[in-house]
Amino acid sequence: MGAVTYPEPRVVDFLSAHFIPLKVETSPPGAAFKAVLGNHWFNWAPVFVYLAPRGRELRRTLGFYPPESFLAELRFVLGMAELTHSRLPAALEWLTSVPELFPETPTAPEALYWAGAVAYKQEKIPGLVRYWDELRRRYPQSQWATKADVVPARS
Protein backbone atom coordinates (compact mmCIF):
# COMPACT_ATOMS: atom_id res chain seq x y z
CA MET A 1 0.00 0.00 0.00
CA GLY A 2 2.78 2.40 0.92
CA ALA A 3 4.63 1.86 -2.35
CA VAL A 4 1.73 1.89 -4.82
CA THR A 5 -1.65 2.88 -3.46
CA TYR A 6 -1.06 5.57 -0.83
CA PRO A 7 1.13 7.76 -3.09
CA GLU A 8 -1.47 7.71 -5.91
CA PRO A 9 -2.76 11.31 -6.21
CA ARG A 10 -6.43 10.29 -6.47
CA VAL A 11 -6.05 8.28 -3.27
CA VAL A 12 -4.30 11.13 -1.45
CA ASP A 13 -7.02 13.57 -2.46
CA PHE A 14 -10.00 11.34 -1.71
CA LEU A 15 -8.74 9.90 1.56
CA SER A 16 -7.71 13.36 2.78
CA ALA A 17 -11.04 14.91 1.85
CA HIS A 18 -13.33 12.27 3.35
CA PHE A 19 -11.50 10.34 6.10
CA ILE A 20 -9.25 10.76 9.11
CA PRO A 21 -6.25 8.51 8.34
CA LEU A 22 -4.60 6.67 11.23
CA LYS A 23 -1.57 4.43 10.91
CA VAL A 24 -1.14 1.98 13.78
CA GLU A 25 1.91 -0.12 14.61
CA THR A 26 0.78 -3.38 16.15
CA SER A 27 3.83 -4.48 18.08
CA PRO A 28 3.52 -3.84 20.90
CA PRO A 29 -0.27 -3.43 20.77
CA GLY A 30 -1.23 0.02 21.99
CA ALA A 31 -4.43 1.86 22.81
CA ALA A 32 -5.74 1.81 19.24
CA PHE A 33 -5.16 -1.92 18.89
CA LYS A 34 -7.01 -2.69 22.10
CA ALA A 35 -9.84 -0.25 21.42
CA VAL A 36 -10.44 -1.20 17.79
CA LEU A 37 -9.27 -4.78 17.33
CA GLY A 38 -10.10 -6.07 20.80
CA ASN A 39 -9.82 -9.84 20.72
CA HIS A 40 -9.17 -9.97 16.96
CA TRP A 41 -6.60 -12.62 16.14
CA PHE A 42 -4.07 -10.45 14.36
CA ASN A 43 -2.06 -12.96 12.34
CA TRP A 44 -1.60 -11.14 9.03
CA ALA A 45 -1.21 -7.56 7.90
CA PRO A 46 -2.27 -5.05 6.88
CA VAL A 47 -5.69 -4.98 8.49
CA PHE A 48 -7.87 -1.99 7.65
CA VAL A 49 -10.67 -0.85 9.94
CA TYR A 50 -13.12 1.91 9.14
CA LEU A 51 -14.90 3.57 12.05
CA ALA A 52 -17.81 5.99 12.04
CA PRO A 53 -17.09 9.29 13.83
CA ARG A 54 -18.63 7.99 17.05
CA GLY A 55 -16.66 4.77 16.92
CA ARG A 56 -19.03 2.28 15.33
CA GLU A 57 -17.13 -0.15 13.10
CA LEU A 58 -18.21 0.14 9.47
CA ARG A 59 -15.89 -2.31 7.77
CA ARG A 60 -12.81 -4.45 8.32
CA THR A 61 -10.65 -5.78 5.49
CA LEU A 62 -7.33 -7.50 5.03
CA GLY A 63 -4.48 -7.22 2.56
CA PHE A 64 -3.31 -5.08 -0.33
CA TYR A 65 -5.65 -3.01 -2.49
CA PRO A 66 -4.51 -1.44 -5.75
CA PRO A 67 -5.58 2.20 -6.17
CA GLU A 68 -8.82 1.59 -8.09
CA SER A 69 -9.97 -1.08 -5.65
CA PHE A 70 -9.07 1.08 -2.69
CA LEU A 71 -10.98 4.06 -4.06
CA ALA A 72 -13.96 1.77 -4.54
CA GLU A 73 -13.65 0.64 -0.93
CA LEU A 74 -13.56 4.22 0.32
CA ARG A 75 -16.74 5.10 -1.56
CA PHE A 76 -18.41 1.95 -0.27
CA VAL A 77 -17.56 2.87 3.32
CA LEU A 78 -18.92 6.38 2.89
CA GLY A 79 -22.17 4.82 1.75
CA MET A 80 -22.26 2.59 4.81
CA ALA A 81 -21.50 5.58 7.04
CA GLU A 82 -24.49 7.43 5.60
CA LEU A 83 -26.61 4.32 6.05
CA THR A 84 -25.82 4.24 9.79
CA HIS A 85 -27.41 7.70 9.99
CA SER A 86 -30.37 6.63 7.82
CA ARG A 87 -29.36 9.24 5.25
CA LEU A 88 -30.62 6.99 2.51
CA PRO A 89 -30.25 9.18 -0.62
CA ALA A 90 -26.64 9.98 0.29
CA ALA A 91 -25.95 6.32 1.05
CA LEU A 92 -27.39 5.29 -2.28
CA GLU A 93 -25.34 7.90 -4.11
CA TRP A 94 -22.06 6.67 -2.65
CA LEU A 95 -22.90 2.99 -3.10
CA THR A 96 -24.03 3.28 -6.70
CA SER A 97 -20.94 5.32 -7.54
CA VAL A 98 -18.82 2.21 -6.97
CA PRO A 99 -20.12 0.08 -9.89
CA GLU A 100 -20.46 3.25 -11.94
CA LEU A 101 -16.86 4.46 -11.51
CA PHE A 102 -15.04 1.23 -10.63
CA PRO A 103 -17.07 -1.57 -12.23
CA GLU A 104 -14.20 -4.05 -12.38
CA THR A 105 -13.35 -3.92 -8.68
CA PRO A 106 -14.34 -6.66 -6.20
CA THR A 107 -16.32 -4.12 -4.19
CA ALA A 108 -18.67 -3.25 -7.07
CA PRO A 109 -21.08 -6.21 -6.68
CA GLU A 110 -21.14 -5.80 -2.91
CA ALA A 111 -22.00 -2.12 -3.35
CA LEU A 112 -24.92 -3.05 -5.61
CA TYR A 113 -26.11 -5.56 -3.02
CA TRP A 114 -26.15 -2.87 -0.35
CA ALA A 115 -27.72 -0.36 -2.74
CA GLY A 116 -30.59 -2.82 -2.91
CA ALA A 117 -30.77 -2.91 0.89
CA VAL A 118 -30.91 0.88 1.02
CA ALA A 119 -33.54 1.00 -1.72
CA TYR A 120 -35.58 -1.53 0.25
CA LYS A 121 -35.72 0.91 3.15
CA GLN A 122 -37.05 3.53 0.74
CA GLU A 123 -39.34 1.57 -1.58
CA LYS A 124 -39.55 -1.98 -0.22
CA ILE A 125 -39.29 -4.86 -2.70
CA PRO A 126 -39.46 -2.85 -5.96
CA GLY A 127 -36.41 -0.81 -4.94
CA LEU A 128 -34.52 -3.86 -3.74
CA VAL A 129 -35.15 -5.83 -6.90
CA ARG A 130 -34.08 -2.98 -9.16
CA TYR A 131 -30.52 -3.09 -7.79
CA TRP A 132 -30.37 -6.82 -7.20
CA ASP A 133 -31.45 -7.50 -10.76
CA GLU A 134 -28.65 -5.24 -11.94
CA LEU A 135 -26.30 -7.11 -9.61
CA ARG A 136 -27.31 -10.50 -11.03
CA ARG A 137 -27.09 -9.22 -14.60
CA ARG A 138 -23.68 -7.55 -14.30
CA TYR A 139 -21.96 -9.86 -11.81
CA PRO A 140 -23.61 -13.28 -12.11
CA GLN A 141 -20.58 -15.12 -10.69
CA SER A 142 -20.35 -12.92 -7.62
CA GLN A 143 -21.11 -14.29 -4.16
CA TRP A 144 -23.31 -11.20 -3.77
CA ALA A 145 -25.43 -12.27 -6.73
CA THR A 146 -25.89 -15.62 -4.98
CA LYS A 147 -27.01 -13.85 -1.82
CA ALA A 148 -29.48 -11.82 -3.89
CA ASP A 149 -31.07 -15.04 -5.13
CA VAL A 150 -33.12 -15.10 -1.93
CA VAL A 151 -35.43 -12.74 -3.86
CA PRO A 152 -36.64 -13.91 -7.30
CA ALA A 153 -35.56 -11.81 -10.26
CA ARG A 154 -38.20 -9.85 -12.15
CA SER A 155 -39.24 -11.70 -15.27
Binding site: I20, K23, G30, V36, L51
Partner: protein, 32 residues
Protein backbone atom coordinates in the same frame (compact mmCIF):
# COMPACT_ATOMS: atom_id res chain seq x y z
CA UNK B 1 -1.90 17.91 -0.88
CA UNK B 2 0.84 15.58 -2.12
CA UNK B 3 0.78 12.90 0.55
CA UNK B 4 -1.52 11.50 3.19
CA UNK B 5 -1.24 13.24 6.56
CA UNK B 6 -1.28 10.15 8.76
CA UNK B 7 -2.06 10.42 12.43
CA UNK B 8 -0.50 7.98 14.87
CA UNK B 9 -2.48 8.76 18.01
CA UNK B 10 -5.81 6.96 18.29
CA UNK B 11 -7.44 9.43 20.67
CA UNK B 12 -6.48 12.37 18.50
CA UNK B 13 -7.79 10.60 15.40
CA UNK B 14 -11.13 9.84 17.07
CA UNK B 15 -11.38 13.43 18.28
CA UNK B 16 -10.83 14.67 14.74
CA UNK B 17 -13.37 12.18 13.40
CA UNK B 18 -15.98 13.46 15.85
CA UNK B 19 -15.13 17.08 15.13
CA UNK B 20 -15.21 16.76 11.34
CA UNK B 21 -17.88 14.06 10.99
CA UNK B 22 -15.54 12.05 8.78
CA UNK B 23 -15.02 8.31 9.27
CA UNK B 24 -11.69 7.10 10.58
CA UNK B 25 -9.54 4.87 8.38
CA UNK B 26 -7.10 2.81 10.46
CA UNK B 27 -4.23 0.90 8.88
CA UNK B 28 -2.92 -1.74 11.29
CA UNK B 29 0.48 -2.98 10.24
CA UNK B 30 3.49 -4.79 11.56
CA UNK B 31 6.56 -2.67 12.27
CA UNK B 32 8.94 -2.58 9.39
Amino acid sequence: MTEIAWLSDYDEAMAQAKETGRPLFADFRVPG
